[in-house]
Symmetry: C2
Subunit: 355 residues, 2 copies
DNA sequence: TTGAAAGCGCTAACAG
DNA sequence: CTGTTAGCGCTTTCAA
């Protein structure tokens, strides 16, 4: 194993000091272009790249953001991951990934803390409040992505789409379609996203004197949603005529089960609506009505929040960001909706009379 | 901003030396349980966690693995990412994510090098040979995940499933079904996975005196695959009666287009087969015949390869691992196949068949 | 088993 | 603009 190339080596070869090398690699540092040129030539010759860890020791910044997720099969989160990582790279930050299996969570937090990350994004996971607090206590900015917590702590913010509004609009949409027996399939019942979506949905129905006709829990998983669908629809009487499913991932399972196992027609027998607007929702096999979460806006807000907190310039009001989404009506609820070619995150063509 | 807690602080509070603190946090270091106890108490009181960057400076190991991907919408890679990250965490490594947009690749490589990662996994990306070589030259173990390179360099290995065999078995499967006009929809035409799958497919057909009837390119994307399907099937005569699609992601697009836009029946009019066995392939809406890539075996091999190269104990023969996959026959090609409930990616046991 | 001391590779403060 | 110096937080000899 050959000696690792250091700034000392480069300095020697270039005939300058280590400081000159350091400055050459620091944008905006005061250094003459000739010196820099000499340094860069030597650096290239030796294949030198500054050591980010050594740098972080001095600067107190690692330029690493810890991202905690617990699963990536939900179709929505891979897109978030990709966009967040790309966006952070633009600012010279990088994502260190932590997959939370909910069993070694304590170890995981310990490891995050060891890497002295400049910030933490908690997405698609339910890290306990205790652990989230631990991170927050360590002076690290924490952003809850698409979830909120009962007790928010110092240096903790949240970004989410307007889940209540989404549930509300879908309720109104079903009512426009004259549906009366309207069911709800929940995600993780204790998650804030689920609660908000359900609350908005209930509110929308209540404004027209309706209540949720039946409920089941799908836990944000395809398999569980399949079972939930059986529970709600595998009978002749008192079958719902519309169902709002708390995520697209589950809604696809619902459509599959209704059509292929229970031989029901969507939307004629049952209207289905989901939440997220994952790419699959617009595929011809599904054409799923859904409330779109604007990923890039959410990512942007996340990055802003992290950077504000790094600079300590976030007021308390700014700490909880709510991004508006929008309803996309497709054929899983309304036959009149145009069959669309696959067009990710484009707004609806067909816009019915809203409530 | 409060002072960052260091081993010095802990040492002071515990009334021991910094070395003692260090040893307390080093498994297997020679330290008495009483001293350790004192240290741990002080550490807990102060919320101390050792600084991984400072440690890496001494040990020369960052315990970070760089993972380079260019997109995560291909359904197969999120699963890889999740499993790889989980597996590495088991050994105390972590994944630093780099999303390659193919425009700032040079900067990206520079950044990878700055983090002094202990290894690099190149998955779902086509980092140029030049850049891959640059990483390899920096003495960093590189594993090509699901791709190979014309010229392999020192400290570079590869892991892939048996793409040729997969193509071969799908050809044989179509021939069993008495199909004669057999088409191929390619992924990225310059990718090694695509070439291998195509080669195996051609070989299988050739053994029965057949050639590929028609070809189009889908570039591993849903949209391009849709267009490719039109190109091959949007006509009355000389329409293929079977099509092998180089990835499931594209195959789902093909099925959607055949059924919903071209009004053709799958499998009666056209048999479809894909590659990967993503979760969606087993969903009732598709029931896609496919060649399963055993993700966990591939991940395990990747980790082994990285660690072997870290220890410098890899012989040249071990450097290129080929993992066998297996054909899964579903209703997109054969009506007689049983309708399956969704069964997520089952993997074969790890069997390091080398060549 | 323990502590003192040296130094990993780098940047920042200070002179010049 | 440039070099010298100190030290970031840690591990690792080396003595004791």
């Amino acid at each position: 194993m050959s000696h690792l190339v250091t700034s000392f080596d480069v300095a020697s070869l270039a005939g300058v000091s280590q400081s000159a090398v350091s400055r050459s690699f620091t944008p905006g540092a005061s250094i003459s272009s000739q010196t820099r040129e000499k340094v860069m030539q030597a650096a290239n010759k030796l294949g030198y790249q500054p050591n980010a860890h050594a740098r972080s020791l001095i600067t107190g910044r690692s330029r690493i953001i810890g991202l905690v997720v617990s699963y990536l099969d939900n179709l929505f989160y891979p897109a978030v991951l990709e966009q967040l990582s790309k966006r952070l790279q633009l600012d010279g930050f990088h994502v260190l990934l932590f997959v939370n299996d909910h069993v070694n969570s304590d170890d995981m937090v310990r490891e995050i803390l060891q890497y002295k990350v400049d910030g933490i994004v908690l997405g698609a996971t339910t890290l306990s409040s205790r652990l989230a607090k631990q991170c927050s206590d360590a002076q690290i900015p924490v952003v809850l992505f698409n979830r909120i917590m009962a007790k928010t702590h110092a240096s903790m913010g949240s970004v989410r789409s307007d889940n209540r509004q989404g549930g509300y609009e879908i309720a109104k949409h079903f009512l426009n379609l004259k549906r009366k027996k309207i069911a709800y399939i929940a995600g993780r019942i204790d998650s804030s996203t689920n609660l908000d979506r359900e609350q908005g949905f209930i509110t929308g129905l209540a404004e027209n004197g309706l209540q949720i006709f039946a409920t089941a829990t799908g836990n944000y998983s395809y398999e569980k949603a399949t079972k939930a669908t059986y529970a709600l629809f595998n009978k002749k009487r008192d079958r719902p005529d519309a169902v709002f499913v708390a995520s697209d991932q589950m809604a696809l399972a619902v459509m599959d089960t209704l059509r292929h196992h229970l031989k029901l027609k969507v939307p004629q027998d049952v209207c289905v609506a989901g939440f997220d607007n994952v790419p699959q929702a617009s595929w011809p096999a599904y054409q799923l009505t859904t409330y779109a979460q604007p990923i890039s806006a959410m990512v942007e807000a996340t990055v802003q929040l992290l950077q504000n907190q790094l600079l300590g310039s976030a007021t308390l009001q700014d700490r909880n960001v709510l991004i508006p989404g929008h309803l996309i009506i497709r054929q899983s609820s309304d036959m009149r909706a145009q069959l669309q070619l696959h067009s990710p995150t484009i707004t609806t063509c067909y816009n019915p009379t809203q409530h």
